[in-house]
């Protein structure tokens, strides 16, 4: 039976969809009360995100004169929202449909999902940490009437502030690795004893260790904020200071589920362009599809983006946590797995 058919026979499944809609309303209330403006940016763009490990979906279309165009579906509305910070909006949020190829059709992934992003001008990642704590606490209070979240037999205390652990501390504590002495592939490898992690890419080793040694040991009764990522994991985050090996980036984990990723935004146009070029080279090396650099985005940074904090949070994952659902295919009404088979 397809999910929409199951809903027809089950008031319980219907209730899940009603609560999903309520979560959307509550998110809008939360941000509007905080003075945020809801924005809608394009899903179809010429230049998708350059993130080396993501695979944007290509779209081919034509204008009324039959001229061909090639674009992409966004993997995140990040570039557009940052242009709007430059345009002068200082507190913005968006619930954006995003698309990623080469992802699993179920579990904790779906090729199409919803990203909740919000940005604050004249701010940084510290304030965003407070926002995300307050938001999740508020939503659970409204949906489950409790300070605690019950998920898959685990009881998680959501009362802010949440525990914080730097990436450096996490690697030292759980894997015995000093990231300050792992700035390149060779020095990283020299600290590794388990040959399972001896890979030829810095980021692959980083995540192999993170997923095998660190993530399974993170506390399960509290959310955790993992912060200050090393430079190869910088993405669009600002360095802690000019020559620092660490950047102001954090991730939120709740019972091992990666919920959100945030930065103090990189505002330096020159460094941003350099990183995008590096990522383009890395994409080519990994045989990923070619994505042009969004020059409009670089131009916006040249005009001057205020120091800002921003975050991307997977809405469906948050809904799964709040509603006690383990597989995204049990949350969505029309999961890709049912649409394409």
């Amino acid at each position: 039976m397809k999910n929409w058919e199951k809903i027809r026979c089950s008031p319980k499944l219907k209730k899940i969809q009603i609560l999903r809609s309520k979560i959307g309303d509550l998110i809008r209330d939360f941000f509007k009360k905080g003075g945020f403006l809801e924005i809608q940016t394009p899903t179809l763009v010429k230049c998708a995100g350059q993130e080396p490990y993501l695979s944007p979906m290509e779209v081919h279309f034509r204008d009324e004169k039959n001229k061909k165009y090639k674009g992409f579906l966004i993997t995140s509305p990040e570039y557009s929202l940052k242009k709007l910070l430059v345009a002068g909006f200082d507190k913005i949020f968006e619930l954006a449909k995003v698309f990623r190829s080469n992802e699993s059709f179920g579990g904790i992934h779906s090729p199409e999902f919803t990203m909740l992003e919000w940005y604050r001008a004249n701010s940084d990642y510290q304030q965003i940490m407070k926002d995300v704590e307050q938001l999740v606490y508020f939503l659970n209070k409204k949906i489950n009437c409790s300070n605690y979240l019950n998920y898959q037999g685990k009881k998680i205390n959501l009362t802010p502030p949440w525990p914080r652990l730097s990436v450096k501390e996490a690697f030292l504590k759980y894997a015995g690795i000093n990231l300050d002495k792992a700035k390149n592939l060779k020095s990283f490898k020299s600290q590794i004893k388990n040959k399972m992690y001896l890979m030829d890419d810095w980021n692959d080793i980083f995540y192999s260790i993170f997923l095998n040694e660190i993530e399974p040991r993170l506390p399960e009764n509290r959310p955790i904020i993992i912060y200050d990522y090393p430079l190869p994991q910088a993405s669009l985050a600002k360095r802690k200071n000019k020559n620092s090996f660490h950047v102001e980036r954090f991730e939120v984990y709740i019972t091992g589920l990666e919920l959100a990723n945030a930065f103090s935004e990189l505002t330096d146009a020159k460094e941003q362009l350099e990183r995008l070029k590096q990522e383009q080279i890395l994409r080519k090396k990994m045989k990923k599809n070619y994505i042009p650099i969004d020059k409009d985005f670089i131009y916006a940074l040249e005009l001057g983006m205020p120091p800002s904090g921003g975050i991307a949070l997977g809405l469906e994952r948050l809904q799964m946590l709040l509603l006690g659902i383990k597989d995204i295919n049990d949350l969505l009404i029309f999961p890709v797995r049912q649409l394409f088979f």
């Binding site: 027809r8 904790i108 980021n203 692959d204």
Partner: protein, 187 residues
């Protein structure tokens, strides 16, 4: 070689010079990193369970296993007795854990795949689809199908599953043994 993209519950991989049964696996892709596959593995020698996360695309040696078709005979005190499909004198039995949750859909004479490693039965897998007769389903009243709802039915193997209201005692239904779910009414 077996790649992570061939992963399925019940297959066996060689890793760190030992053989492991994949009990469960999940694709996980950190946004800022490559894709990985989280697995729950059972060591076939010690029986220990471990969790390992492999990079997507990683390859493993295949364990030398043999799959034989076996016929379910009966169960007694949580042990399940089978014989080779075409050789009824070749009998063996396994504990419930070797079969997993699908054990409740085992019907006498059901043909299953038995996996042998070093002549030891290490896994039994039922076909994903099986047809089973409903021996008891509470009656439903005309008109309430549109309002929806499901009810619990008992199958000929004793298993209890949720079925739509229109299913009645005596119906034969198709069951997905992996998910333990009703699929459709056959007759």
């Amino acid at each position: 070689m077996i790649s992570t993209s061939d992963f399925q519950k019940g297959i066996i991989i060689n890793f760190e010079s030992q053989s492991w049964l994949i009990v469960d696996f999940q694709f996980v892709h950190p946004g800022k990193g490559a894709a990985f596959v989280k697995t729950k593995l059972k060591n076939l020698i010690t029986g220990n369970m471990v969790e390992k996360t492999f990079k997507s695309g990683e390859e493993f040696g295949e364990a030398k296993t043999e799959i034989i078709k076996a016929k379910f005979l009966y169960s007694h005190r949580n042990r399940f007795f089978f014989c080779k499909e075409k050789e009824s004198s070749f009998r063996f039995d396994v504990p419930k854990e070797t079969i997993g949750s699908a054990f409740s859909f085992l019907k006498v004479n059901q043909i299953v795949d038995a996996i042998l490693l070093d002549e030891k039965i290490i896994n039994i897998s039922l076909p994903i689809k099986v047809f089973l007769k409903v021996i008891e389903a509470p009656p439903s009243f005309k008109g309430n199908t549109a309002q929806g709802g499901t009810k619990t039915a008992t199958l000929e193997t004793g298993a209890q599953i949720n079925v739509p209201l229109f299913v009645e005692t005596g119906d034969v239904i198709e069951v997905n043994t992996e998910k333990g779910e009703y699929v459709r009414r056959v007759e």
